[in-house]
Symmetry: C5
Subunit: 326 residues, 5 copies
């Protein structure tokens, strides 16, 4: 909504409504444009000789990158936030583009909405933070990069929480929702990796010190951000592996469950079916004859049969217990 | 079917039937050949010194590429369209080859059928579009590349729709058709990736500004197209992951279903089989004896047995409910 | 079996029994050795200064490659044919080695058996083909490469047919043979890829024009063959994906089948078992008493029970229909 | 907790409380800071011109790396230990960071806790070990690297033991815990690989001898450590494969078990169900008529039926035995 | 156990007990140390200026490699043998390290045990083999490399035999042992690949002719060995694919088996259960009444019911036959 300018030298810091006046001041100038109108953008671009394609890149949300232009270096970064639906995970990372144009003694930051990391550094500058004043445009750019990358760690922490939730769920609940949660976490990680990888590349380019706007003493700081990004990518891989492990266990719980259901069914059938056969046997209507089911005529025939069936049952139950089927 | 020529300078634009006359004009010339006959192609190739192998490449539909020849740079691109059968997805991308021959002050475009992106830029040129007049042959080539790559996004949108359809289907329908749809979407994505990758390479070659026909100020624009292609490849990967996730859920739905069917069978067997045993028991024909089934002689024998069976049934049903089997 | 020599210039072509005489002729010479004896090979190698390791490479059937030696470039290619057993696929590509030794003004081709592509070009040369005469040794080598690579497409066509057969089979037949066919197709594709990859590399080396025996104007033609090889590798990947998809569907058909068998079993058990219980119930032999099964004494007892059972059956059938189990 | 200094030349070795005095001595100096306070760290950093970002890297635990700074080379390594919960594996490698700052004639080692490998070399130095005295700072750094990498082998040995445990478990126990153990082993290996890979890179950098603080004669020794790391990575891959194999067998045991349960159920049902039908048959109450179940009137009816059923049972049992179902 | 020396020139070959005397002879010298004592090794190392780290590498069994030292090139190779337990495959390759130190006019070979390939070449040298005498130290080294790599093919042949055994087993036997055999074959292949890959690299280094001890005319021969190694790696991949295919078929056989068991169970249940219901029906004890089971009073009631049941059975059997369930 606004374009603000800030001139800072070794000792002093001052804000200006007007870019040109700010630039005239000794020291470096930082122009921050947040949700600026096309007209405002046009004016900023003209003042600093910024190519209109770079401005369009920020709007189109292309992947993070560093590009050298005549007179400045363009760094496109993205903030990361977890998109969350009402009740379910979305499996997506919400990303906001920020453009950093680093000139020799000027810095222009461009974004559509307020970016936390930029806002914080801006206020620190106004408060006369010693790590900004007298450090030049490239160092301020480093501070912003560092802030954005730090916020990535918060996102990964949230994802880690979700993985833990999911890891608890896989053993107890074998419904489809659990699998969907796992898939959404994996998607978030994938989506996050797609953010972290090109950012790593973009910052690595600055760390190698190729652009002349980055002074040798600032390179080391970008290398530090680069190391953080390497760590982030590593963590992402670890979490991906955790999510895969959870998925394996989930799928396996199901197989174990089916196996156990089958065992129970077999136990019931093996015990009850033969018994049913026996009672059916003594329900047959053969004519009286000494060879036809003499047991039916016995005085203790019924208790004897009952005892026999009990015995068979006990033996089978003990057997299935030992086999671990019960 | 025709070969048309167009000469354009900073201010004027004019069409000619005749290539030679057009070339004689100051400024740049654009010759567009659509479905030209071998004889016509021969004449165009001769006029601009185009190698006959390049012309054959367009006909054979080899993969997108950029090649430098003496006096011109040859860019082979492909349009993308979704092939759709009557009722089922085909799993294929319909691709049409377009050849761009970029000389210092001339551009030849070659294709077998009308290409939307080429057609549109041609008309824009005729309308005196400021972004073509006075911009030279390489910039016009960029405009065509940009148009073709933009149309790729439409294809990806269609694929996204299909993925959403498929994602809804996997939970409810566990038939083979669903798996076939998933497979066809994955094939489309694979097929699309095979288009996007070499295109990215071909455009990247132009963006790096190696061919001398591409002026430094145009490189930046090709870099922009290149970034779009990177974004496309990224999206393709994301969609592939979504399709894989859908496939996982589909396969899992089936396992869950089998597991539940087994549970139901076990419940039915566990409840009904013992009851059948009991009624069989009281169907036995033992001789009258005080030890043989005295229950049969009881006045309330039948209600007692019925009650007993009811009790067992209720207990089992409650148990299975608690276990989540019912 | 023979070593034949052929001398060709811009206008004339002539065969010689004798290499030395052929070489003395103006223009280029092509010596074709097919299944030559060690003694003959020795003589050819000596005449053209060919290293004996290259000759051994052809016999040993090492992978396709291009190697530069002093005075000539050695190109080892392989033809591809589908090995077919009596009734089943073999899953293997039959490959025959061909060695091309390209000197400045001479070409030696070496193979153990007759090679179609070589034979065809030889005859074309004898017929005074304008695309061989006056084109030099490197162009003739290109013609042979092109012929061999073209024959690769025939092999891929055959494989495509098999994939289509297999795709039809997977839905209807869930026996092990189907899986074995799929595996054999995949093996053929793997085996084919192992042929195409190094060939691509070998031809790519010629296309880049590193060997001095390849003149700049011939490079373009090798680049064309290279593009065909890239297309072949692409196709192989697509077919591999199709085969994988077929395998997925096959494995899934089986799961669907098991799921459906289970459903049928459950339906049968759920309907018949309770009915059996009911009829067992009325088979019990309780003593006459107003509380013991009064239904048995009813005039319409039997029809009532039959009706009740019919009702239960109908309700269950309708229920299972709705659930899609029947 | 302390910062200790040690000066060593070709022949003598001496400890100092005070860094400055130690540095004034001829020969090399080694300053070891273990769990030093910020103030102490500050003093060390100032004395040797160490960049504060490197110190932060050690605290933040970024991945192992080698970085060249003006006047020194910074090597960040990590020790490896297996984290073990009370009863279950944790699936994680406990890593401790150690920073080595190698100057021309000085070495600073920094860590938060006591590191075994550092401690051991320190004592060896005090004992006048010939492989430290007169060998310079880079060689001492090599000794520490070597010690840390050696301790990696102990960790891999522990993991190997676990794999063996798991391999025994997979065949006998098909519960979820076994799968969790396998997953935790795989995670440990992954986690270990993440340690070994960048360490390999970091040491490889030293082995190539790029930093000028590493003298040519010491390069060979770092190359040796590098070879050990390659061996470690190889071993990790082998163990990963073993773990995957164990997982396959586990998952398969389950399928085999389900298959066998099903076979048993089918055997029971196939034998008992027909018999139950037969005995039900002779329990029917048809009116006396020469055509209605004459068997019931036979003198030997019952023994005949029993014999028949026994025969059927024996035949079925023999059949199922042959099929391997029993 | 011994250190032997051999001096060979263009024409003569002679063995010496003493290295120094051998070296004094014109031509090249080959010192072969097999299982030498530390003292002997020390003396050899001193005589030829061999670095002690290389000697340790051989003992430690690090992966194959080529390293250049001042004055010589060190090639570490490994022989391959299949470790075979009493009754089961071990899944491991037994590897023996051999060190080749190639100087300008000397060759030292070092190993702990007798190595076949070295032994054979040694004897060939003594026999005055024309392919060793007058060929120099580098060519002799090539001969040894060639011999070792040739022995790799024997190992692969053995593995191929095992794969064939396994391929036969997967269709007939679905027990866990089969899966374990497959896994052990895959492990052997993995283990073999880990041997072949670095060997390929090591030989490739020699083939590129970087070390100055390798003369240009010998490079070609190393290139030949390199080609063999490429072929070996290719074969390994093919065998891995065969093993994977066997594993797929094994796992699938099990699913097919379970599917068929389920079908049989369902067939039995579907046929027998309804019949049991029918016979139960006519066992009910309803009071005499014209509406209660009049069938029981019919003269041909029993034959009618039997016929009806037979009919139902025949219909069901025919149906299941058609469906392929029987």
């Amino acid at each position: 909504m606004t374009v603000e300018s800030l001139a800072f030298s070794d000792e002093t810091v001052e804000t200006f409504r007007d870019m040109e006046t700010a630039r005239a001041e000794p020291g470096s100038v930082w122009v921050r444009a947040t949700g600026a109108t096309p007209v405002e953008l046009e004016r900023v671009a003209e003042e600093f000789g910024i190519h209109h394609l770079s401005v369009e890149d920020i709007r189109n949300g292309v992947r993070p990158k560093t590009e050298e232009f005549e007179g400045y270096t363009f760094v496109l970064l993205k903030t990361a936030g977890l998109a969350r639906g009402d009740t379910t995970f979305q499996g997506e990372i919400r990303a906001e583009s920020v453009g950093l144009f680093v000139g020799e003694d000027w810095l222009v930051t461009l974004s559509e909405h307020d970016i936390d990391a930029v806002e914080r550094i801006w206020r620190a500058a106004l408060d006369g933070d010693r790590r900004i004043l007298g450090r030049g445009a490239d160092f301020t750019a480093y501070r912003i990069c560092d802030g954005i990358v730090d916020s990535y760690f918060d996102v990964l922490d949230l994802i880690e929480d979700r993985i833990e939730e999911v890891e608890d769920a896989v053993i107890t609940e074998t419904d489809i929702e659990t699998l969907e949660s796992i898939n959404s976490v994996r998607r978030e990680l994938l989506s996050f990796r797609k953010l972290a990888w090109p950012t790593r590349e973009a910052v690595g380019y600055l760390a190698r010190g190729d652009p002349e706007e980055v002074r040798p003493e600032t390179e080391k700081y970008f290398r530090d951000v680069y190391d953080h990004l390497v760590q982030l990518v590593d963590l992402t891989e670890t979490y991906r592996d955790l999510a895969s492990g959870a998925r394996d266990i989930y799928l396996n719980s199901l197989s174990v469950s089916t196996n156990e259901v089958m065992k129970k069914l077999t136990v019931v059938a093996t015990i009850v079916l033969p018994l049913t056969f026996v009672v059916g046997l003594y329900g047959m209507n053969f004519a009286d004859s000494p060879y036809n089911m003499p047991e039916l005529g016995w005085t203790y025939g019924y208790p004897a049969v009952m005892l026999g069936m009990l015995l068979v049952t006990v033996v089978l139950v003990v057997y299935f217990r030992q086999e671990g089927w019960l």
